[in-house]
Amino acid sequence: MADIQLDKLAKRFPNGFEAVKELTLEIAEAELLVLVGPSGCGKTTALRMIAGLEDISSGDLYIGGKRMNDVLERDRDIAMVFQNYALYPHMTVAQNIAFSLKLARRPKQEIRERVQETTRLLGLEDLLDRRPKQLSGGQRQRVAMGRAIIRKPQVFLMDEPLSNLDAQLRVHMRGEIEALQKRLGVTTVYVTHDQIEAMTMGDRVAVMRSGELQQVDTPTHVYDHPANLFVAGFIGSPPMNLARGTIERADDGLLVRIGSSAVPIPAEIARERDLDPWVGRELIVGIRPEDLEGPGEDGRHAGGALIRAKIDRVEALGANLLGFFTVDAPPATSEAIAEATGGGLEEVALITREGTPFCATFEPRVALRVGDEVDVAVDVRRFHFFDPDSETAIGG
């Protein structure tokens, strides 16, 4: 077991492309850190630098306090699980799992015991003599895990290990991997583009974009306090509603105006978020769908200010209802949001010609139809404010 330190780790490819820019991160012993971001954000390159499969262009990498930049991959005591599993096709399950121990010239007896122990842990005991092509996707995934854990390495690296599984199996393996990691207590860096995997598995989540670290914190903190527009748009599903608004001074304090709606801001929130300098200025307001609550079955609201909404579209998810409506405020278009939500800038602009699409949640049995006009309750304490120029969060 060991901690990992990345100090201004950078990767520049010979063609000048900077895949990872001065990445500084500390991963504690036994921690599971999830590196998450859209494809091409540099997360896999960062992982490969830790693994030693990619040279480090600049910066330092420490594992267990030892500088690893110039240490060969095989001397770093790291095991890796690949996206495609990369099982040796000509070897049986047992041979695949035992390969590293065989290379390390461990005694046969020990290898046999450890293979047994590992396969029992993963439920592979009955498949020892199968070859990879005779296994299902989930079983192959397990063999890949087995190949990593049999080594009892200092560090696990996992490169999107679940992305080739179907949805149901993915949810199941998510839990298994997390439980396994906790049980073995091995420091783990887990790369994924799936923000749900990041939220559910990580002790901490590091969000990356274009080779730069955006935010690293516990999943809850990243969710509740996204550091910037990119993180706000990337983490959370359905994504955070983002629109342009202005802070105005009213008789008894401040209010935020989003299109024709005005939501008063309690004095303590204004102070806490340091909103005074923003009076009369435009900023970006972010509201998570679950913080926009439609009236319940009894037609009553949870409380707080109300926004009028004319429902354009309804999605029934079973556990709740999503109601989409358009707010008559300019959309918060930015490259960061487009990148985070996977849409192009133009696309966003096209949909939102007449305003900004918002998503609100309703109780599952509410009779909600397209065209209905309802009031949705907002809790201003749960609002997120962003500087439209720097795109960073205002007042935490």
Binding site: A51, G52, L53, E73, R74, I78, A79, M80, F82, Q83, N84, Y85, A86, L87, Y88, P89, H90, F99, S100, L103, A104, R131, P132, K133, Q134, L135, G137, R140, R147, R151, N164
Partner: protein, 291 residues
């Protein structure tokens, strides 16, 4: 009504499929005939008696079938090929094996365990493909003489090994390029070094490339005449191609013996195709990756 109509269209479709297949087979049959006609002439001539084998009656079947020509070509006193077949095997087997193994190693380090400048090295190797035998024969012989290289079959084998490296390297490099990089990296993460990765991970899944390369090398070395006639000066060490050429007498040409000898000389390559072709394994990579 509808069923009848459907029936009719499906019958029409079937008829069209049948007619297109007939066309295909006709074209293939024609090509086969064109290729096999000379072989027919060879075969019938080889079973004719000494007086009967004559170009003017090349198409005719033998009046009396005889194995004399085959006997003479195989082990006859004047034309017997047997010792030369042995020479050829002594040449072809080691030369094929060595050039194939070298090609495999080269292909590996040029595609999956690359070193700085690998592309440049590969480019130079490729040049070797385009250098004709004739261009190197004299300098090659000079080098052999200068370094006092063992004469006869060893010289010829060496020449074929070196000359085979570009093509064997090319075949293996292309094949190894289809092996997923992940597999090599997995071996690296399992702490395998270069040779261990090659031996334990790459080599076991190289069979298809070995078969292709071995067939190629076996055939081209077996069939080579130019290097053989130029490099091997001792008639006792001639490979079969040179001996075959010498069945053409200066005064009389025993066509029946010559045809039988030609068939005997080409049999080993045919056997190699038949034997090794079975090992063209498909889907060897199945199961390594998600698919």
């Amino acid at each position: 009504m509808t069923t009848v109509a459907l029936d009719r269209t499906s019958r029409r479709r079937r008829r069209r499929r049948v007619s297109s297949r007939v066309l295909k087979y006709a074209a293939l049959a024609f090509a086969a005939v064109v290729v096999l006609l000379p072989v027919y002439v060879l075969l019938v001539a080889s079973f004719k008696g000494a007086g009967e084998a004559d170009p003017s009656r090349a198409w005719a079947l033998p009046e009396s079938w005889s194995l004399d020509a085959w006997r003479e070509a195989w082990n006859g006193e004047q034309y017997g090929l047997l010792p030369f077949l042995k020479n050829s095997l002594k040449l072809v087997i080691p030369a094929t094996l060595i050039s194939t193994v070298i090609g495999s190693l080269n292909g590996f380090v040029l595609s999956r365990w690359r070193f700085p400048g690998a592309d440049l090295v590969f480019l130079f190797l490729l040049f070797g493909l385009f250098i004709p035998y004739q261009a190197v024969m004299i300098p090659l012989t000079q080098i052999f003489i200068d370094v006092d290289f063992p004469e006869g079959i060893p010289r010829l084998a060496f020449a074929h090994i070196v000359y085979g490296i570009p093509i064997t390297t090319l075949i293996f490099r292309s094949y190894y390029a289809t092996i997923p990089e992940d597999l090599i990296e997995a071996a690296r993460m399992d702490r395998a070094g270069m040779l261990r990765t090659y031996w334990s991970v790459v080599l076991p899944i190289s069979a298809p490339a070995f078969v292709v390369t071995a067939i190629w090398q076996f055939t081209s070395i077996w069939n080579d005449f130019l290097f053989a006639v130029f490099i091997v000066t001792d008639p006792g060490q001639w490979p079969v191609t040179v001996a075959l050429n010498n069945t053409t007498g200066s005064l009389v040409t025993p066509y029946n013996v010559q045809m039988a000898a030609a068939l005997i000389a080409s049999l080993p390559t045919l056997i190699v195709y038949i034997l090794l072709g079975r090992y063209f394994m498909r889907g060897l990579m199945a199961g390594a990756l998600k698919g």
